[in-house]
Structures are given as C-alpha cells and as structure tokens.
Symmetry: D2
Subunit: 113 residues, 4 copies
C-alpha cells in the first residue's frame, strides 16, 4: 500500500493534479467509481454476481482498481493509510459484533460498520 | 493487504456472513459507506476539506476504514486483491494520460480512470 | 412539482442556505441520501425488498423524500424541472430500447438510461 | 408526476422488466445514475458548477432525468409517490430546522434530512 500511495503521488505531481485533489473532490471521484461498480451488478441476481463471466469480471476489476486508487489518494491527502484505517475499524467491529450475537443474522449484526 | 483480507474472511466466517456477502450486496454496502464520507464533505469548501478538525477527521478515517474493508472483501469474493487491481489500473492510466498532455488540465486528463 | 420547488426555495432562502447550495454540493447531498436508501436494502434479498415491514418502509419513504427534495433543488439551481428532464429522457429511451428487442432481456436493454 | 409514473409502468411492462425492477435493484440503478451526476461535478469548483457550459448542462439534465425516472419507479414499486414523500419530509424538516437556529449555518442545520 505504501508503494501504491507513493506512486499515486508521483503520478498526480507529474500532472499538476494536486490542485484538483482536495478531499472533497476525491470523495466525489470515489463515489463516481463506486457507481460504476453498482452498474455492473444492478440487474444481476446475487448468484449471478458470484459467478461473473470473464469480460464483466475484467471490467469490475478495473473499477475496483479505480476505487482503490482514489481511496488511497483520499486517505493520503488526509494524512493516513487506508489499510491502517481498516485495521483500526476491524478492531472496533470485533467489540461491536460479538460472535455469539451476530451468528447468521442479517438483522442487527451483519454490517462491519 | 493479504493479512487484512484473511482477517476479514475469519471475521465473516465466524459470524456466518458468507451467505450475505455476494458481490452484489457488497457493492451496495461499499456505496453506502462512501455515501457517509460524502456527507462529511458536502457543505465544506474544498479548502475546508483540506484541513478538517480532529473530530471530523476521526470520523472520516473510520468511514474510510469501512470502505477499505468492504472493498477488500468485494475483491476477495471475486478472486483478486484490490491492490493488484490498483497497480494494473495505474499502469493503464500511465498510457492513457501522458504527462505532456495532462499537465494541470482538469478538462480531459484529470481522471485516473 | 412546481409547488414543491417553490417551497424548497422559500425553505432555503429563509435559512440563508443559497450560499451552500451550489450544484456541486447538492449533487453530493443527493448521493449521500441515496447511500442511505442502499443501506436499507443491502442485506435483503430482492424478494424481501418487495415486501418491506412497516417500520423499514416508513424510513425508506423518508429517504426517498430527501432524495426528491435534493433532486428538485439541484435541477432548480440549474434552471429546469426534474420532471421535464424525466419526460425528455423517457422520450429518448423509447427510441433506444424498442419493445421488439428489449423484451425480457436484462443484458443490453434493461436500463432506462 | 402521476402521468410520469404511469408512463414508466407502461414502458417497463411492454418490455417485461417488472422481474428486474425489485426495490433493491432499482436502488442500485438510482445510485449508479447519481454517480454519473457526480462525475460531471467532481473536478469543478462550486462557482463553475453554478455556470455550466451548454454541453455539460445538457448531459447533466439527462442524468437528472434518469435519476427522476428511477426514483419515481422505486417509490411506485413501494406503493407511494416520491412527491408525496418529499412533502411529508419537508413538513418534518420545518420543525427540525427552525429558521431562528439555522440561519446561514452549515454546521448543524444545513441539511434537509
């Protein structure tokens, strides 16, 4: 992740994009890319979404790449790594969703957040 | 990232959440979390978004953690790592946005995707 | 819709919110609200989403109200009515998705857009 | 709005799309379209977003048309009109954001929701 973040910084610096990369703008770009992922899945059944054809899989992988790039860039502009943020959040979730109460339930305990 | 993905798998397996974690559903959860990031930035100016107060920064970091978790889980369910997807996309973007043409322009060349 | 748009204008003017209601900001607020709708549906099956319990239905209705308000406000700030935009789009779609080719197909012809 | 909703029903029925139009799927389509609006605004300043060139305005109007169509369809599938939902929400907001406290403040009182 650190290498990726550095590479993105270089990429943006070489193109003078720092001026556009405010956290506000990056959050919009992130959401735009996530919207593209949704468009691939919106008319599929859940089962179909688990077994994508090669062409769709390739495209979804590209969108996920975009989302990861913008997410890393957004976190970097705010001063931290998205991986570090994920680990901290996972630690919180362990306490929030104890195994005993969350098992197989989609009601109250199915979300990471 | 590999460690994070393994941890998320464990976390989900212990709670029997595999059944809910179809790529379709995970893409929705991802979008929901990104929506929460947007809500923090929507009324701020770009400048304000670059210098968040500590309380807001903490919350945004948590949302970014959630987004990273769902993104990693989504990619894992599709059989790859989001980091790998990001590197491949960055390689494509290098060709798509040559430095010479993209410099300081928000018109055609400001996007990673 | 015209009455709604006028009411929203009054509502915003009385609170001096015009300054915050740039199309850019409103598009973010719109997306944030749509994210809240997604969160209600993300772990439900399609069948479950067709028969919501009263409590969830009430909440989803509120979110849809928010989305409609922001959508009307966004369109108004850009100088048109969202209804008018919808009618024009529907007219375009008629040509794009002829009945003969689109019947029962989710592949290429299932989308309005 | 009633006419629009009827027209959308006809449009979908003629194409046998009822099967795809679960509220879950429609919420995803809605979010995908909103993502496209965001993409138009993400690198613009707020001022720029208030004075779009004709070409961009035309495209944004089309996206807003799509969002209105999916929003109307989603509400209809749940048994109500999005306009009715908006009016009810506006009534709630009047109480939630009294003019006296909300004036010109983006902190706590700037949101409709």
């Amino acid at each position: 992740m650190e290498d990726l973040i550095k590479k993105i910084r270089e990429f943006a610096d070489e193109r003078d994009w720092e001026q556009f990369h405010s956290p506000k703008n990056l959050s919009m770009a992130l959401a735009g890319e996530v919207g593209e992922i949704l468009e691939h899945f919106q008319w599929l059944t859940e089962a179909e979404s688990r077994s994508l054809d090669d062409k769709t899989l390739k495209k979804v992988k590209e969108e996920i790449g975009d989302v990861q790039i913008y997410l890393a860039r957004l976190a970097d502009q705010l001063g931290f790594s998205p991986l570090q943020a994920a680990w901290e959040k996972l630690e919180q979730n362990k306490k929030k969703y104890p195994t005993s109460k969350s098992k197989g339930s989609a009601k109250k305990y199915t979300e990471f957040e």
